[in-house]
């Protein structure tokens, strides 16, 4: 085995868990990352990680319930066997993390504490304060460092993945990568390659994602023939601090721990929030969803916030609502919430200058997570309803030998991801796929036998592309092109979508692509740590992904999960509630997975059926009340409920 190697691109939770498990399987791993892996975007995850547990089990919860909530939360777009397998493995993943020393928050008796999270009525979310992603990432980083010391894993940090290397039969046999400091471009052989490169939030301009989340890893595989699955499904998280450079996440755990969303009942109420009495506040999610209250899934909470602001009830008439963690609203003592949520409270305090336990936070939705990503396969096990263990097909893209894991794949979250399922899917995919990858590389001739020419040609191609970029002398700065792209994508392809705006966006993307190819000007033409060059390359990738997202959204004439479409003629009908304006979910025509292929420089759509073999799709409304409860103190129609 020792002469065969696997490359893992990306050092977040998915990349680290894949690397760790492969090392344990005796496979040598080369791990590539843009940043020291400890600085990967997983560090930003706050709220927790879901798994069935003893307490919930005794209240009637089970792995099956976790599975069911996840596919229901995803509006039935996820293939069901992989989700069931993930839910089944979740409890053992928590135990493994516990053995690795993750400082999970504890109960008085020393057990791992649990909190409530969106889309569930059971406490099934384990957490470490409000920095769970950071704590999980560090634990896996340490395990990988241990393997590194033992010689099982070699890290290439500050290296950028440029392209897969393909053999004449269409198998991925390695990668071309660049040292971002010396700018050396070289090839690396690999018997299999795993893409664990995360989401693509940066193409929306501002999102809650780190600025390294460009989606380039995915886009570079897409350009050599890997298919995208469901790219139009983009999660907009309900609660973030709006910002000009980034929208900073305020975790769903704030609501899981008792935080409440509200707006003043009176439009343009100029009073300080602490001076607005209880009776003059509209806790709109509690009014509309008496069962789930503030922890309805994210797509739903986001649309309710959008709608209530559209109706003029946002703070000061603008696009913001209150997220209230004060003792007055929650009844929970200051010190308790400080202990449980310290990490996010600090962020708010640092960036807004206000203690959110003393004064309600001002928040608005922001792009947060890419449900779509590289299409990957799975091997269904008819006996268990889940997946076949150690099957090479699990997590393989349509390119032989090219795998994807974590947010970079499309597999687990359907049309909307439930909170605290992303850390789980990242770690699950890594652990679960590794034995299958080992089997795959054992069954294939070693890439050590491939001709060197194959690799040299791939390197030359990248060098030529780099030379073209370095010599571009036009007037369009890549950062400015990105700003234009981000603005259009944010305005037209997020919370609500309509076909005319989507068409306009496609036209704009086309013109940006044209300007990139014919009028780009790189502000730095040097060959030492040239960040403008790397950004320009990512900018092109973001344009291609934006095109795929927008085209897929345009084609999908229904509403499902995060994709919410309003016919053009109803866009301005603000007198109607959102769900009377939108197209309904249409299982007959649209219960299918979008596939996007890159053919001759164009995105081409096709579809395949969703595996719904375990639970039949059902209506999804989380018990929304049908009659609007007129708020006191106003005769105006408020966020109506249907």
């Amino acid at each position: 085995m020792s002469h065969k190697r696997v490359i893992v691109v990306g050092g977040g939770l998915a990349g680290l868990s894949t690397s760790m498990k492969l090392a344990e399987e005796g496979v040598a791993v080369d791990l590539f990352s843009l940043v020291p892996v400890k600085r990967s975007h997983s560090v930003c995850a706050q709220g927790g990680i879901n798994a069935c547990n003893d307490v919930a089990r005794q209240q009637g919860y089970s792995e099956w319930e976790h599975f069911d909530e996840t596919v229901f939360g995803g509006d039935f777009l996820a293939n069901q066997p992989p989700v069931l397998e993930m839910a089944r493995m979740a409890p053992s993943i928590i135990d493994m993390l516990d053995r690795m020393g993750v400082p999970f928050s504890r109960t008085p008796e020393g057990n791992r504490d649990l909190r409530l999270f969106g889309g569930s009525l059971y406490k099934r979310t384990f957490y470490a304060g409000a920095t769970t992603g950071q704590q999980l990432l560090y634990a896996l980083d340490e395990q990988v460092r241990h393997h590194e010391v033992q010689g099982h894993i070699t890290k290439y940090e500050f290296w950028e993945f440029l392209a897969p290397v393909m053999d004449p039969e269409g198998r991925c046999v390695g990668i071309v990568a660049q040292d971002m400091r010396t700018m050396q471009i070289r090839s690396f052989r690999a018997d299999a390659v795993v893409m664990a490169t995360g989401g693509n939030g940066l193409l929306f301009g501002q999102s809650t994602m780190s600025i390294i989340c460009t989606g380039s890893g995915t886009a570079r595989c897409y350009q050599i023939g890997a298919k995208l699955g469901n790219p139009e499904f983009v999660q907009v998280h309900p609660t973030a601090i709006p910002g000009e450079d980034k929208c900073r996440l305020m975790s769903e755990s704030a609501r899981g721990e008792g935080g409440r969303l509200w707006v003043p009942k009176k439009r343009n109420d100029t009073r300080h929030p602490n001076d607005i009495p209880e009776a003059e506040r509209d806790y709109f999610l509690e009014r509309l969803y008496p069962k789930y209250k503030n922890i309805v899934p994210r797509d739903i909470a986001t649309r309710e916030i959008f709608y209530i602001c559209e109706q003029g009830y946002g703070i000061g008439g603008g696009q913001m609502v209150y997220l209230d963690l004060t003792e007055k609203a929650t009844g929970i003592p200051y010190e308790t919430l400080k202990r449980k949520l310290g990490g996010i409270l600090e962020i708010y305090k640092k960036f807004r200058g206000v203690d959110p336990l003393l004064e309600p936070m001002k928040i608005y939705p922001a792009v947060h997570y890419s449900m779509g990503g590289l299409w990957v396969d799975f091997a269904r096990d008819d006996k268990t309803g889940g997946l076949k263990k150690a099957d090479p097909r699990n997590q393989m893209t349509n390119i032989t030998g090219l795998y994807a894991a974590g947010e970079a794949d499309y597999q687990y979250h359907g049309a909307n991801r439930l909170g605290a399922n992303s850390l789980l899917s990242c770690i699950f995919t890594g652990l679960f796929m590794a034995p299958g990858i080992r089997k795959f590389i054992e069954s294939r001739p070693p890439v050590a036998d491939q001709s060197q020419q194959l690799y040299d040609t791939a390197v030359e191609k990248q060098k030529a592309a780099q030379t073209r970029l370095l010599n571009s002398k036009g007037s369009d700065n890549p950062y400015m092109l990105h700003r234009e792209l981000g603005r259009a994508m944010s305005d037209n392809v997020t919370i609500i979508r309509c076909n005319s705006k989507l068409r306009q966006t496609l036209e704009l993307i086309e013109s940006l692509k044209d300007r990139f190819q014919n009028n780009l000007g790189l502000p730095d033409s040097g060959l030492w740590n040239n960040q403008s060059l790397a950004f320009a390359r990512a900018c092109w990738d973001m344009m291609l992904l934006s095109e795929a997202i927008t085209m897929a959204a345009l084609a999908r004439d229904e509403s499902r999960g995060s994709h919410f479409k309003i016919p053009d003629e109803l866009m301005e009908r603000h007198d109607l509630p959102l769900d009377q304006r939108s197209l309904p979910r249409d299982d007959e025509h649209w219960l299918k997975t979008t596939l996007v292929s890159y053919v001759d420089g164009k995105a081409v759509l096709s579809y395949e059926p969703v595996d719904v073999s375990l639970v039949a799709p059902r209506a999804r409304n989380y018990g929304k009340v049908t009659a609007p409860a007129a708020p006191e103190g106003t005769k105006e129609p408020l966020a109506a409920a249907h």
């Binding site: 344990e24 975007h41 930003c44 135990d95 690795m100 504890r106 590194e148 000009e244 450079d245 900073r248």
Partner: protein, 259 residues
């Protein structure tokens, strides 16, 4: 974006630049638009979009590291107005209020080799994590049940220690830590304390103490206490130094008597 009266419309930045690891550093001045919520990374980003100096010269954009922009990844650590901090959480309105009208100075950290401009090589910190075995040894990833129970009191000591993002602020501020000595610094003492506390991490405690009592170890700490003042995560670093110091004493006595 509404700009309150106390936020200037533009701000002057003096950036210390260096083209390559071996070349001479030089200052360059910029004047960039600024809003109420601007921070140092957002201004560096706008220079990248329009890299022209205050004198009107087109230049290559300054290189810098940044990723999460919410002070949890540690990437964008640099020296701003003479103090080490994260550029993303350094709000312009706040530091301008301290020195109204004065240019903001931005320099790379001085205790690590410069790669280019504001980018430095902090690999020494990660290498030191290897030396002290900063991990819990486990019997593999298979389903082997939960880890040991931890009391909430223990967790509340360990969790803050585990929030160290390896940013290097404590080392930049430390008078003992220099580019060419072997001192490991507060970061390592605090992480070692974390692993020494964990029931299974204790297995490597002796090996850890050997490193911490060797060249560049705990005896080199001058107790200046600068580290704890600059730590962005308020990690009780001096407390960790005290704990490791006492553990070192106990370990030497144990060793003297042959354990």
């Amino acid at each position: 974006m509404i700009t309150p009266a106390d936020t200037p419309k533009t701000v002057k930045l003096n950036i210390l630049r260096q083209d390559t690891p071996d070349s001479q550093p030089y200052w360059q001045n910029f004047e960039v638009p600024c809003s109420e919520s601007s921070n140092v990374t957002s201004l560096l980003r706008s220079i990248s979009a329009n890299p022209v100096t205050a004198q009107g010269t087109k230049v290559a954009p300054p290189a810098y590291e940044a990723s999460c922009l919410e002070e949890v990844c540690g990437s964008c650590t640099m020296v701003i107005n003479g103090r080490v901090r994260q550029a993303c959480s350094t709000l312009i309105r706040k530091i301008q209020a301290q020195n109204p009208g004065e240019p903001i100075t931005i320099e790379p950290m001085t205790k690590f080799p410069v790669i280019r401009d504001l980018v430095v090589d902090r690999s020494r910190m990660f290498e030191n994590l290897k030396r002290i075995k900063a991990w819990i040894p486990i019997d593999g990833t298979f389903n082997l049940g939960p880890g040991p129970k931890i009391t909430p009191e223990e967790q509340e000591i360990m969790y803050p220690l585990s929030r160290c993002m390896t940013c290097g602020s404590c080392l930049e501020a430390c008078p003992q830590f220099t580019r060419d000595n072997a001192f490991v610094g507060a970061q390592i003492f605090s992480i070692a304390r974390y692993y020494n506390m964990h029931p299974n991490g204790q297995k490597d405690k002796d090996a850890r103490m050997e490193v911490l009592m060797g060249d560049g170890g705990i005896t080199d700490c001058g107790n200046a206490q600068n580290c704890v003042k600059v730590c962005p995560k308020d990690i009780p670093l001096t407390e960790s130094i005290g704990v490791i110091g006492r553990a070192a004493t106990v370990y030497s006595i144990k060793k003297f008597f042959g354990k």
